[in-house]
Amino acid sequence: MRAAVTSPAPNGGSGTMIGAIALLLACQLAGEAIQRVSGLPLPGPVIGMGLLLGWLALWPKERPTLDQVTAWLTAHLSVLFVAAAVGLMQEGPILSRHGLAIAAATVVSTVLTIMVTAWTFRLVASRLGEDDIDEGGEAEA
């Protein structure tokens, strides 16, 4: 494990809530800017995710506030896209014409993806001599 570069702050952590939100927004902004300049067909926030990963790797330390903010956002993702899902009410014609194809594609793709992913993982892991063990503790690290 890499040594934490931060000194223990009196408040037990580093960074404020606003600082954590600012970091997320700055990464997204930089991602959007890169997307526009490069013309990459990759969404700005996804580029921002890569940038944040780079930021965390460059300055590795405990970031309890950032953890809290992102955990909160992830836990409440569903309510954020319900408004967008309501937009489906405008797509009646497409749904009635292609609903069956869409449903079939979703079922086939969901089943095949689970199968291929699980098999590939086990195939490569067993070549490496990885037993299938329960490593709950480490996975949570």
């Binding site: 993702l77 869409i102 793709s109 699980a118 996975a139």
Partner: protein, 234 residues
């Protein structure tokens, strides 16, 4: 009084409040059912809101601009997916080979099999583009769909349907396949069925849940990457 109140229909507060209330009501049912995938709050709050819009004669664009701030938060939420990936960096490094191989194979399978089926059934490009990112978590899927010329709302519905389905079939399917490794089980469900699959995996086993969360976050990036490459080649 009715006239005075009906002017509220154009204000964001009405539809923001309605959206959160409808979601919370559906979420109470979901919690009561111990988070059964079929009780997913999006599945039930969405038609309720559609009904309210239809009954009140509110066009969707009015609703969309009223609730724009909810959608805005999806961007920072996607950026934040870097945090769970970073926190599991030691597991990722140690299992780099099986994770990378499984991610690449699973992500490509999700895209190609989904696109293949709608294409074979004669669907137009807009449907193909909406199905392609179906294994990415909803906000990423919607953004990728928009970039490919798909319909973000349709992609949201497909992604959620995938999640409900994946969460329901994962356990019997993986048992049938004889996969006992909880890392492989969790990761495959996260790659295929994102957050809904991960929530289900956490109910089964902590390791499976952690690997499902990892699968969701990694496949959000991989789906976007593979599809942007494909779009660049076209």
């Amino acid at each position: 009084m009715i006239a005075a109140l009906s002017s509220l229909r154009a204000e964001p507060i009405l539809w923001l409040a309605a959206t959160l209330l409808a979601f919370e009501a559906a979420d109470i049912v979901s919690r009561r059912s111990a988070r059964h995938p079929l009780a997913h709050p999006v599945l039930w709050s969405t038609p309720v809101l559609m009904g309210l819009l239809t009954l009140s004669g509110t066009p969707y664009p009015v609703y969309a601009s009223a609730t724009a701030m909810l959608g805005f938060l999806l961007g920072p939420a996607v950026v934040g997916l870097a945090v769970p990936i970073w926190k599991r960096r030691r597991v990722i490094r140690r299992l780099a080979l099986p994770l990378t191989a499984a991610l690449l194979a699973g992500s490509a399978t999700a895209i190609m099999s989904g696109v293949g089926v709608v294409w074979l059934m004669g669907a137009p490009d807009v449907v193909i583009a909406s199905v392609a990112p179906r294994a990415a978590t909803t906000p990423v899927g919607m953004q990728v769909s928009a970039m490919l010329g798909g319909l973000p709302a349709l992609t949201a519905a497909i992604v959620i349907f995938s999640g409900v389905l994946g969460a329901m079939i994962a356990t019997p399917l993986l048992n049938l396949m004889g996969v006992t490794d909880y890392r492989a089980r969790g990761f495959s469900v996260g790659v295929s069925a994102h957050g809904l699959g991960a929530a289900r995996a956490f109910q089964v086993n902590a390791t499976a849940g952690a690997f499902a969360g990892l699968g969701m976050a990694l496949n959000a990036g991989m789906t976007a990457l593979l599809l942007s490459l494909a779009a660049g080649l076209k």
